[in-house]
């Protein structure tokens, strides 16, 4: 029933290739999600009611819809949009990987928007007023005062969201991409042992999560040096 060690070693490259795909998807999604979420978060906190409603709608839409439904809509639905096949964007995204990253990023952005917007709102008003009183421009106030402080506030939640992104990448199996779960499945179909490959894949995921949480801890120390300073 269970495979022996030599068989597992023979199949290890397959699993590692799957792990690389999973890591690629995770990294690109984290970047893509942030790029989408930042402007939406700013719109969410903006004064205008139209931008606020748009941001609310965006968050409700992408937090309420299952990831797989979004993925299928983009994967099967996008090619059916009239005229899209003539545009240069089509050339860029007409492959499973970019489509998966787009769908995953949109889904992640729904959650990330709330995290970023909440952190930006919770920066103490006194700090902003002090910066303005010192003569900093609005842009300078944002980049030097608000953004660093908000990053500190958002870090913990962002780490949790990153773990959800990692777990979410497994849906790419539904659109023919072989990630870590897909690789484990392949090994199962070749060896008739589901336990070893799936459990090894599980260990890989645990390692990735562990590294992610370590990075968050490290960033927390970097961003809040006084909170971790040795007592003198």
């Amino acid at each position: 029933m269970l495979m022996d060690a030599s068989t597992l070693i023979a199949y290890l490259p397959v699993l590692l290739a799957g792990a690389v795909t999973t890591l690629e998807l995770t990294l690109f999604t984290l970047v893509g999600g942030f790029v989408i979420a930042l402007p939406v978060a700013l719109a969410r906190n903006a004064q205008g009611s139209v931008t606020r409603w748009f941001a609310h709608g965006f968050v409700f839409f992408f937090r309420g819809a299952p990831l797989l439904v979004i993925l299928y809509l983009v994967y099967y639905g996008l090619p059916q949009l009239p005229g899209i096949k003539e545009t240069p964007i089509w050339f860029l995204i007409a492959r499973p990987m970019p489509i998966a990253i787009l769908a995953l990023s949109l889904n992640s952005a729904g959650f990330l928007t709330e995290i970023i917007a909440g952190a930006l709102r919770n920066v103490p008003a006194g700090e902003v007023e002090a910066a303005r009183a010192f003569g900093l421009s609005r842009l300078q106030t944002f980049t030097r005062i608000i953004a660093p402080h908000a990053a500190r506030l958002a870090l913990r939640s962002y780490g949790n969201e990153a773990v959800f992104v990692l777990k979410g990448t497994a849906v790419v199996n539904f659109i023919t991409i072989t990630d870590l779960v897909g690789a484990a499945n392949q090994v199962y179909f070749n060896t008739f042992d589901p336990f070893t490959p799936l459990l090894v894949a599980g260990v890989f995921y645990l390692i990735i999560v562990f590294v992610m949480l370590r990075l968050v801890k490290w960033a927390e120390r970097r961003l809040n040096p006084w909170a971790f300073a040795a007592p003198s």
């Binding site: 484990a184 499945n185 999560v209």
Partner: protein, 236 residues
């Protein structure tokens, strides 16, 4: 939008979609109820003064919260059949088990739901003010009575927001069970799309249904929170 595609009867896909929705909802409700109950038990195990038990449960839940849902679904669906066959092999059994897809899906989603619910319940139990327990004990209640009359109701109230969030999460995980061949809503929509080449319309309909359910859950969440925390509301 072509409404004829969604009509009931042999020409439209309306009845098939309703059957798929029915399966999705049954799966979700069963997994959520079982998962919440399991999560409560797990949380009590985690805070119980029993050595090792807490550590063990914490580790299991941590693992279940770190790996993709799809992996757990596959492990249970493929694994259960082979494990059963291997267990019975010494008794002269040689054959295959056809594991029930529905219950494999329910078990996988319930275990994951429980792993998150356990965390929510544990936080709720730990957040109960010590004074409430002291007061109940001072009134002469036995520890069991304190648990059922004071701790459990208070914990449920504190856990409610977290639990309703989990309802949403598990609901959104249900389409993953189509990977083990269950004819749930999204699978039916995919079949319909395959047949009619109208993927966009059918997946859009699926999306609208899921968003509709999400809206209902959100409404129930605000309603229940308003009810549960009405003693904290100021004025009126």
């Amino acid at each position: 939008m072509d409404l004829a595609l969604f009509s009931l009867g042999p020409t439209g896909w309306g009845d098939e979609l309703i059957a798929g929705l029915d399966l999705t909802l049954r799966l979700a409700v069963t997994a959520i109820i079982a998962g919440t109950a399991l999560g409560l038990v797990s949380a009590l195990g985690e805070i119980a003064p029993v050595p090792l038990l807490g550590r063990l449960l914490e580790t299991i839940n941590m693992v279940l919260r770190s790996v993709p849902e799809l992996l757990v679904i596959f492990l249970i669906y493929y694994g259960a059949a082979i494990a059963l066959a291997a267990l019975l092999a010494p008794f002269g059994f040689s054959g295959f088990f056809e594991i029930n897809r529905f219950w494999s899906g329910v078990l996988a989603l319930a275990l994951i739901h429980a792993a998150y619910a356990s965390e929510v319940f544990r936080g709720a139990f730990l957040a109960i003010p010590a004074g409430e327990i002291d007061a109940a004990r001072a009134f002469g209640m036995s520890p069991l009575l304190v648990f059922f009359r004071i701790r459990l109701p208070l914990a449920f109230r504190l856990a409610m927001p977290g639990l309703t969030n989990l309802v949403m999460t598990t609901l959104k995980s249900t389409p993953l069970v189509s990977a083990i061949g269950l004819q749930d809503l999204i699978r039916v929509a995919g079949d319909a799309g395959q047949n009619t080449k109208e993927f966009f319309q059918f997946y859009m309909a699926t999306l609208v249904i899921y968003l509709g359910i999400a809206a209902v859950v959100l409404l129930l969440q605000t309603r229940s929170e308003r009810r549960l925390f009405r003693h904290l509301r100021v004025g009126r």
